[in-house]
């Protein structure tokens, strides 16, 4: 356990010429442990999520990546038997111990799921409903924000003529981009993405990936992906999770390039070379 902690940080200098990646922690996670009932699925994870950067989390199935993400926006509250301990520092608050308004928190920390989940409403209503929910009363303001969000994800040109028809009729890739727009319309600071491309075909996946790259700098992104090449292409930082005795742990965390080109841990090296993935 101690050995692991010493290795938790292998941060080097930030790549020059990418002003978005000022290494300033936006979220500081300390000793995060997640369990369901009597079972611990993730143990003692500590890492910083840097502002404006893309952090990719990789690792085999079942090692607790989704559980990790859901702790960050307290979605874990809604699993009856989930328990989360440790510290998550965000904006001077400990999300796990200080009194936090989770509704406001989730406006600031958005989440995208593996399976696109647009509501069975019109494209427009999908974006309008969350805005109304968060008290944006002015119709013109809403209109402006919705248009902007759809433009940000590159959907505006594709759907501007059918904004009031069902979002369920969109293609998978368009649905996923709509979900991203739905999160962006609330102007979050952080976006958590849980395998956002894995339900999409390669072309749609490439479109979403390009979109994620464009988010860099404006938003802090944490992305879970099984696609190592994708992680390598988009991320500034990367973390590698692994299961030891059926408990997930963070084995290595550092700059993406370092992690992929010169991993410090044998498990990481083996995983990224495909030996044990």
């Amino acid at each position: 356990m101690n050995r692991l902690k010493e290795r938790s940080y292998t941060l080097g200098e930030i790549e020059q010429g990418k002003p978005c990646c000022v290494p300033q922690p936006h979220l500081q996670i300390q000793d995060l442990t997640v369990g369901y009932g009597a079972k611990t699925v993730l143990s003692q994870v500590s890492l910083d999520i840097y502002q404006g950067c893309i952090t990719a989390l990789i690792g085999p199935s079942g090692c607790g990546k989704t559980s990790f993400l859901s702790s960050l926006n307290r979605l874990s509250d809604h699993h009856a038997d989930a328990h989360v301990s440790g510290k998550i520092l965000f904006d001077g608050q400990d999300l796990l111990h200080d009194p936090v308004d989770t509704l406001k928190l989730r406006r600031r920390i958005g989440m995208i799921f593996q399976k696109p989940n647009p509501f069975p409403l019109s494209i427009w209503r999908n974006l309008e409903l969350p805005l109304k929910e968060h008290g944006v009363r002015d119709r013109n303001v809403r209109h402006h924000k919705i248009e902007q969000a759809l433009k940000d994800v590159g959907l505006w040109d594709e759907v501007s003529d059918r904004l009031h028809s069902s979002a369920m009729a969109l293609s998978g890739g368009q649905q996923q981009r709509l979900c991203i727009a739905r999160a962006l319309v609330l102007e979050p600071e952080i976006l958590l993405m849980d395998e956002p491309c894995s339900a999409l075909d390669p072309i749609a996946s490439a479109v979403v990936e390009e979109l994620i790259l464009r988010l860099r700098g404006r938003y802090t992104v944490v992305i879970v992906t099984h696609n190592l090449a994708q992680a390598r292409r988009v991320a500034n930082y990367a973390g590698f999770f692994w299961m030891t005795e059926r408990v997930g742990q963070l084995v290595e965390f550092g700059q993406c390039q370092h992690l992929f080109e010169a991993p410090t841990h044998a498990l990481t090296a083996a995983y990224i070379s495909g030996a044990r993935g």
């Binding site: 979605l75 989440m111 069975p120 209503r125």
Partner: protein, 277 residues
């Protein structure tokens, strides 16, 4: 070969059912039409129902239905929402509520009649009245309505619940704007079942709303339901067959009209929220 026999068997089953239905229906329509005139709907019955019409009976029936639905629909929807959205799956109370509802759904309606008589008519002092009858009907349709709506809500994709939570929406918004509209087909089905059962009920009403065939002056007056009227004409009144068939024709038509009405009302109410895919 076996495949052929199988599909023939299925065809025969379908034909048998359709034939039986058509036979019953055509019997009611042909025999009913012989005795039916528009005046039949607007006259009071004379000579124990052999002559005249069914105006007061129609009015009583509609009152009974109105009372039953006004009580059962909001209450039932509330219980269904609680069971599917709020009660945890291993809560003892929720499970026993569910089992109780299933048992109640199978209780013969005469038992509801006895209960309604003891509780509403005698204990609450409502006597033989439309109110007693309507409330008894409400108790009777509640279990099926709750279970249908609950199942409908449970089949709504969890992705939408998670999506709504991750956007910082309250659960009530999610239920009201997303889950209930998405469960619309089940709610309509429950409504139609309820209307059908309540409109066609006799046994539960004999001891609660009674069989006085005068026009009810208030909800505390006794009133005769259409189904009770048919039963009385067929069983106790010699020479009442013609009027019984005509009343049956009205009953069948009434149920069809009410179902269509209920369906289009619910549809139009939800359509403002939901764009059907």
């Amino acid at each position: 070969m076996a495949e052929r026999i199988f599909s023939w068997l299925i065809m025969v089953c379908a034909l048998l059912v359709v034939a039986a239905l058509l036979w019953v229906l055509s019997d009611v329509v042909l025999q009913g039409a012989a005795h039916f005139s528009w005046q039949f709907l607007f006259d009071a019955p004379t000579d124990a129902g052999r002559g005249g019409g069914i105006a007061p009976i129609l009015v009583s029936t509609l009152w009974l239905l109105l009372i039953a639905l006004t009580v059962a629909l909001p209450l039932g929807l509330g219980v269904a929402i609680w069971l599917s959205e709020f009660a945890s799956s291993n809560s003892r109370f929720a499970n026993s509520t569910g089992i109780t509802l299933d048992i109640l759904a199978g209780v013969p309606s005469i038992v509801y009649g006895l209960f309604g008589n003891a509780f509403f008519s005698i204990y609450l002092g409502l006597g033989f009245s439309l109110l007693s009858g309507g409330l008894t009907l409400a108790c009777m349709i509640l279990p099926v309505f709750v279970r249908t709506c609950e199942v409908g809500l449970r089949t709504v994709s969890n992705d939408w619940r998670r999506g709504a939570l991750a956007l910082g929406m309250t659960r009530s918004t999610a239920i009201w704007h997303i889950l209930l509209p998405a469960a619309r087909p089940a709610i309509v089905a429950g409504l139609i079942l309820s209307i059908g059962r309540a409109t066609a009920e006799t046994a539960a009403l004999l001891f609660t709303s009674g069989y006085v065939d005068r026009m009810p002056g208030s909800l505390l007056d006794s009133g005769r339901a259409l189904a009770v009227h048919i039963y009385d004409l067929a069983m106790n009144v010699t020479g009442g067959d013609g009027a019984a068939y005509a009343s049956a024709l009205v009953l069948v038509t009434l149920i069809i009209v009410l179902n269509t009405l209920a369906q289009s009302l619910v549809d139009s109410w939800f359509k403002r929220r939901l764009v059907l895919a």
